[in-house]
């Protein structure tokens, strides 16, 4: 085999790797948005779901896909495809996510159980952006249908804020006569919402629940080694300082409320994060901390000029919660 032939084959390999790299580059990031937008129209619901998930991963750069995602969230006959699209919208365009919330709210009072259940699921998929829907979801905990109550509990857990409304509602659900509802409620405290000292007595009561899985989850929630806010905030501050701000971390901090005051310096830079959801949640964290977040006032005042109306609205609310007079009235975002 000649040297020339060896190098020719090696060149072929380099060309192949180059082509694969080009294929990867073309298929990911903002470049994939047109193809994914087309995929939202695919007759196969699996394709529509995958396309929405990929668009969510791309984030704000997928803004051209918002009309398609809105259409899927509001009109897709497949419920999972609809909620996946709604979940993508909260990562791409908060105002569009609020549009979905506003359009789905009336269905919470629909006569049809399935419609009420789907509306609850839709709110949950929108995550913390559906905060204005929390009072309606709290009311749904009195629904006659066990399924609706169960899905409403899940939605409240996924929205997670404001903790002052969500946590008492979940505590109420811990006493629901239906096992499925209690199970869903205790799961929230076991896996996503840190149970505060006020929640502990209610969880202890569940240790004697006649359903063993509920009792077991209550035990898990109570035994969490990092149940206390002070134990968790240190880890979250490290994550934020390393630039690893994510919606889960920020939502947890918002749930801690004033106990998360020590995180204010780490949260302030997130007000300038590229993702509107993170900026929104940063404002929510500071608002939940309240007067203890006074050092964030200059950054919040600057954030009143944010390009996203929902972030501006949340920022103004945060300034009011901190107790400053610097919060001007802002144009109401769609609710």
């Amino acid at each position: 085999m000649t040297q020339k032939y060896i190098w020719l084959n090696l060149g072929g390999l380099i060309a192949l790797l180059g082509l694969l790299g080009l294929f990867y580059w073309q298929s990911t990031g903002a470049r994939a948005v047109p193809a994914m937008t087309d995929a939202l129209k695919d007759p196969d619901s699996k394709v529509r779901v995958a396309a929405a998930q990929m668009l969510a991963e791309i984030g704000p750069a997928a803004k051209p896909a918002v009309p398609g995602l809105l259409n899927q969230a509001l009109h897709d006959p497949n419920q999972y495809a609809g909620t996946t699209a709604a979940g993508a919208l909260q990562k791409i365009d908060l105002a569009a996510a609020r549009q979905v919330m506003a359009a789905s709210l009336p269905a919470l009072h629909d006569a049809d159980v399935q419609a009420r259940r789907n509306a609850c699921a839709m709110m949950g998929s929108l995550g913390p952006v559906a905060k204005p829907a929390v009072p309606a979801l709290v009311a749904a905990l009195d629904d006659t249908s066990e399924t609706v109550r169960m899905v409403a509990v899940g939605a409240l857990g996924e929205i997670g804020i404001p903790a002052t409304l969500v946590i008492p509602a979940l505590v109420k659900a811990l006493r629901d006569p239906a096992q499925t509802v209690r199970h869903r409620a205790v799961s929230q405290f076991a896996f996503s919402i840190p149970p505060s000292d006020a929640v502990v007595p209610h969880l202890k009561q569940l240790l004697e629940d006649k359903d063993r899985s509920v009792a077991s989850l209550a035990k898990s929630a109570l035994n969490s080694p990092h149940r206390q806010a002070k134990d968790r905030t240190a880890a979250y501050v490290t994550m934020l300082q390393m630039g690893n701000a994510n919606d889960y971390t920020l939502r947890q901090l918002a749930q801690f409320g004033p106990e998360a005051a020590g995180t204010v310096p780490a949260v302030i830079p997130v007000l300038k994060h590229e993702r509107p959801l993170n900026r929104y949640l940063a404002a929510e964290v500071l608002g939940a901390i309240g007067p203890g977040a006074r050092e964030a006032v200059p950054a919040l005042t600057a954030a009143l000029q944010d390009e996203d109306a929902i972030v501006r609205e949340s920022t103004a609310e945060a300034l009011r919660a901190i107790g400053t007079t610097d919060a001007p009235p802002v144009t109401a975002a769609p609710k």
Partner: protein, 163 residues
């Protein structure tokens, strides 16, 4: 066809075969598994595979790329190792071929077993194998080469052989 041409053809076949196998093995395992276990059709399994090539939580393209890494390195080694061997020295060629066969057996065997096991018995931590497999392969391929070459050397030992 003379021995030199045969060796060249074998080298090129092993080189490209190794690369293609490394790149496509995870996909082939997934498609065949999907077709037989879940859907019953190769077309649908192929469409599912394409759909999840870059999908979050799946990233099948990345899995293929990770799996291909040790195979590409092995292919380059094969290209230079067998490509620079001359058919005029059959003892050396046979020893090198034996070593390459050992390396290929380890790479193909371990990789196929790992992908089959992960696909047939899915598990939350199972996906970790996709990250560790290339590392293990990079360590075990030279071992496979060494063992098989040693056997080849012993088998072809003659007073004239110096390779």
């Amino acid at each position: 066809m003379d021995t030199g041409k045969k060796l060249t053809r074998l080298t090129v076949t092993l080189y490209w075969g190794c690369i293609v196998f490394g790149l496509t093995l995870p996909g082939i395992v997934m498609i065949v598994h999907d077709a037989y276990r879940r859907h019953g059709g190769f077309v649908e399994a192929w469409q599912d595979f394409r759909l999840h090539l870059f999908a979050p939580g799946y990233n099948l393209f990345l899995i293929g790329a990770l799996n291909a890494l040790p195979f590409v390195l092995l292919a380059i080694f094969i290209l230079f190792h067998l490509g620079t061997a001359t058919a005029k020295e059959p003892v050396i060629v046979s020893r090198r071929l034996a070593g390459v066969a050992g390396a290929l057996a380890v790479a193909v065997g371990l990789s196929t077993w790992a992908h089959l096991a992960t696909t047939l018995h899915p598990d939350a931590q199972g996906a970790l194998v996709y990250f560790f497999l290339p590392v293990y392969l990079l360590g075990l391929i030279p071992l496979g080469y060494g063992c098989r070459r040693l056997i080849g050397t012993i088998a072809t030992r003659t007073p004239a052989a110096k390779g």
